[in-house]
Symmetry: C2
Subunit: 507 residues, 2 copies
């Protein structure tokens, strides 16, 4: 049984067949994405178990379609055709080769065992987290790391097994480079911590009476202003905010509301808008093809962090937006807030146990800790049963806080039970890329800084579209960073931004 | 390429393989249903064109999966196995044989031409309706009827081509029976019209100030009370209300709000709840199989009409619910409404041009007109170019109103441009079945009437589940009606209900 009836006409036939099939596979994938979005937003609870089966079936069907032998034949023929290296066609063929090889290298039984293991691990993790009892999760976590090692071996690796998994999230990155990068960065972050804490002492906590509907109205006004297209997307409410580009010109964001603290929804909307504007800035007609897809998580996260931190936590942003915020959120004026105090509150630094609640400065210390532990677990340097102790020890050294229990320690994140090994370091790459891109953009085009001062964001978005979005996965993340900023990813711009905000000498 | 990996174990292998594959096909179908629901509710507008392609691809994939030769082999082997006639297995095999034969009888080129023609016809119809200019739609409508004749010929027919199309919506029904039924029914409806108009003269129009949120709160309370399970469904807002059972234990209803007239949303919620409770009353574990599917539209519509008209437009309903309605909708008391005047307003009879706005009495006159015209068009008794004149003439004879233009006449409904020929008569069958089932239920179980008087709906719903829902398509609609009420579908109960409401002598 074949999936497509009519072969398309333009371009050499194998390549045309390949892209046509990828388009079909993307239609199935987009259906799954829409169902996932629905599962998080509107699905009635009794529908959950059947949908889990539906996901398994659709995932399997999509995998079979993508790993079909004819895809390999068309890929080979397309490679032999000799497209120009810098052509769209060559970029698509390179990206599909990478994905096809990874998809076909994993034995079916490993994929199935992993799916089952993740399901069980997720339940065990929820239970263990609830009771703050690592022992309930330990056997599952051991199984996850055993299977992850087998995955890495199936993919093949050099230097470290970790590299094979990292490749799935951040193509081209290596453990050695990341360790060097983080080692150069960690001590400078720690140096900034003391003055930042000192400065934060005078900052009020952003608390008050902020009804969700008022927050939503303000957030939507800002989202529209920075360039999120509500004709091609929407914002709904979920427990954990996310961005899902479920189809061309259809990008769904979510947020959550804390009616005592509007920063929770505001920051997540800025963050998800960054992801969403990136996705909508990709070539929508190439949806499902590498040139229409994001290249790496580190680049994706750069876009969310840029809008969340570089723009949304800037002084000039609040100088402009405070009156509109106060218009939507009357409690701001009633409680005596000013642009300056809101800005200070949003930039307050305070070490805490939970990564997703961390401030801009300490966030990367959380990430480095996870990267180090999961790398050691995967490489067998650290035993799973010793993970909590290693976590707590390193946490105290790094952030100066004694972890009270594993729910506030190594059980807090969902990633490991989902076998997302190699994912964490991309968060920090995102922070560094964000600052570096933002600094380069302002330096290259004076209209950008001028625009930001007037709350006009089109120049900045346009620069990002041109230097980042439009490439999709046609260039590597490293190449995109080098072309856009003249340098590989470095911590300098991020540290400079933090220093400007928090150093005793500045302001 | 095969779609399933592991064959299931119980039951004879071909039957097990058949039902396993049907389950997989239903997972794909359910994905499409969810996307359709999303398209009507939450999809951003720029996503529309790509999703149209996605629907075409998913529909084609599903069609290829269902018409695959192995399905025919498994069906044949299952038929040869000799399941007991009254077994679930035999019912599934019978239903799948019917669907498989219909699906495989249509040549692929006809399916494609029909899909294209419907798309164009839809656009032409919208344009023609907007300008009330039938000529803009005439060529498309001719094409639709030409293709519909070819469809009927491909399916095969006896007596009338119309029977072949009717079979798709109301299996087992025939033109001859429907004409006899409607001929016996039409004059008695017309007799009731004069006294109903007389009585309706004193009824106020249900107008006032009813904010949508207030209506939604009242509707949800009623929906919950009559038995709609919000853990297995939800109510959203769309231009045209519908019910979509998108997966087991997941049934999505929609409504629309007129803030001047709460009857619009209230009636549609009662109506869609009837559809939804039927769908959720089917065996959810047999989703995608005949025994877990509705048998006919006439039966489906009986469930919606029963809750909308027999329950929601009854005097006892409003005697109980008026205080709750007034609690949610303060305008009711402010404007001096009473249970009696709300009841009278909801039962007001007033001939009008638009079917979907018609009252309970004249509604069937609209349907009979359409049935007669589309049958004559299909059989070649009436030329498409003469349809507007035939419509207007018959409308005036039947409802006593002069049709002012074709937008208020033969261009008002979407059905013909969607090639839904044979669909209309099922609406009237629904009205007749509703009244007949309601009367039988109350007669058979005194707890039902007693419950209704106390606004307790469980006895009625339980009777419907037992006598209608649980059969799915395991029995024919005729057989379900005969077993439930002792008789085939007749107009008597419907006319008796109308007479009780509108005859001069009664009240």
């Amino acid at each position: 049984m074949s999936f497509s009836d009519a072969p398309p006409t333009a371009a050499p036939e194998p390549y045309a067949r390949l892209t046509h099939r990828m388009r079909e596979i993307s239609m199935l994938g987009a259906a799954t994405s829409a169902l996932q979005w629905d599962a998080e937003t509107y699905q009635p609870k009794k529908g959950v178990p059947w949908r889990a089966e539906q996901f398994a079936f659709l995932g399997g069907l999509r995998h079979r379609m993508f790993t079909a032998p004819e895809i390999g034949d068309w890929l080979k023929a397309s490679e032999d055709h000799g497209f120009a290296d810098d052509s769209t066609e060559a970029a698509n063929v390179r990206g599909l080769r990478r994905d096809y090889d990874r998809a076909t290298k994993l034995p079916a039984e490993l994929v199935e065992e992993l799916a089952k293991t993740k399901g069980l691990a997720h339940l065990a993790w929820q239970d263990a987290k609830k009771h703050s009892d690592f022992a309930r999760f330990r056997p599952n976590l051991e199984h996850i790391f055993t299977l992850s090692r087998r995955m890495a071996d199936a993919y093949g690796w050099e230097g470290s097994r970790y590299n094979a998994l990292l490749e799935g999230w951040e193509p081209g990155a290596t453990v050695a480079e990341l360790r060097a990068l983080f080692d150069s960065f960690r001590p400078r972050l720690r140096e900034l911590l003391a003055p930042a804490l000192e400065k934060s002492r005078s900052a009020r906590k952003l608390e008050g009476d902020f009804p969700a509907a008022q927050q939503a109205a303000f957030n939507a006004e800002v989202a529209r202003a920075i360039g999120f297209d509500f004709d091609a997307g929407r914002i709904d409410v979920t427990a954990h905010p996310f961005c899902s580009h479920i189809a061309p010109y259809d990008c769904r964001l979510t947020t959550r509301y804390d009616e005592r603290n509007f920063a929770v929804s505001f920051s997540s909307v800025m963050h998800e808008c960054g992801h969403g504007m990136y996705e909508l800035g990709l070539d929508q007609d190439a949806f499902g093809l590498p040139v229409g897809s994001a290249e790496s998580l580190g680049l994706h996260e750069s876009q969310s962090r840029l809008w969340e931190n570089q723009v949304g936590r800037s002084r000039e942003f609040w100088e402009h937006w405070f009156p509109r915020a106060a218009h939507h959120l009357p409690a701001l004026r009633a409680d005596g807030w000013t642009p300056e105090t809101v800005w200070a509150a949003l930039n307050r630094v305070s070490p805490s146990f939970i990564r997703v609640e961390a401030d801009q400065l300490t966030y990367d210390l959380h990430i480095m800790l996870r990267f180090d532990i999961e790398r050691r677990l995967l490489e067998g340097e650290l035993d799973v049963s010793d993970a909590p102790a290693a976590w707590n020890e390193e946490f105290e050294r790094s952030l100066g806080l004694k972890v009270p229990d594993d729910a506030h320690g190594c059980l807090q994140d969902v990633h490991w039970c989902e076998a997302l090994i190699g994912y964490f370091p991309t968060y920090s790459l995102g922070n560094l890329n964000a600052a570096q891109l933002f600094a380069a953009a302002k330096k290259q085009d004076p209209a950008i800084a001028a625009g930001l001062a007037r709350a006009e964001y089109a120049p900045l978005l346009s620069w990002l579209r041109d230097h980042v979005h439009r490439h999709g996965a046609g260039l590597s993340a490293g190449e995109i960073m080098r072309r856009a900023t003249g340098e590989p990813t470095k911590p300098d711009a991020h540290l400079a931004m933090l220093a400007a905000k928090f150093s005793a000498g500045v302001e």
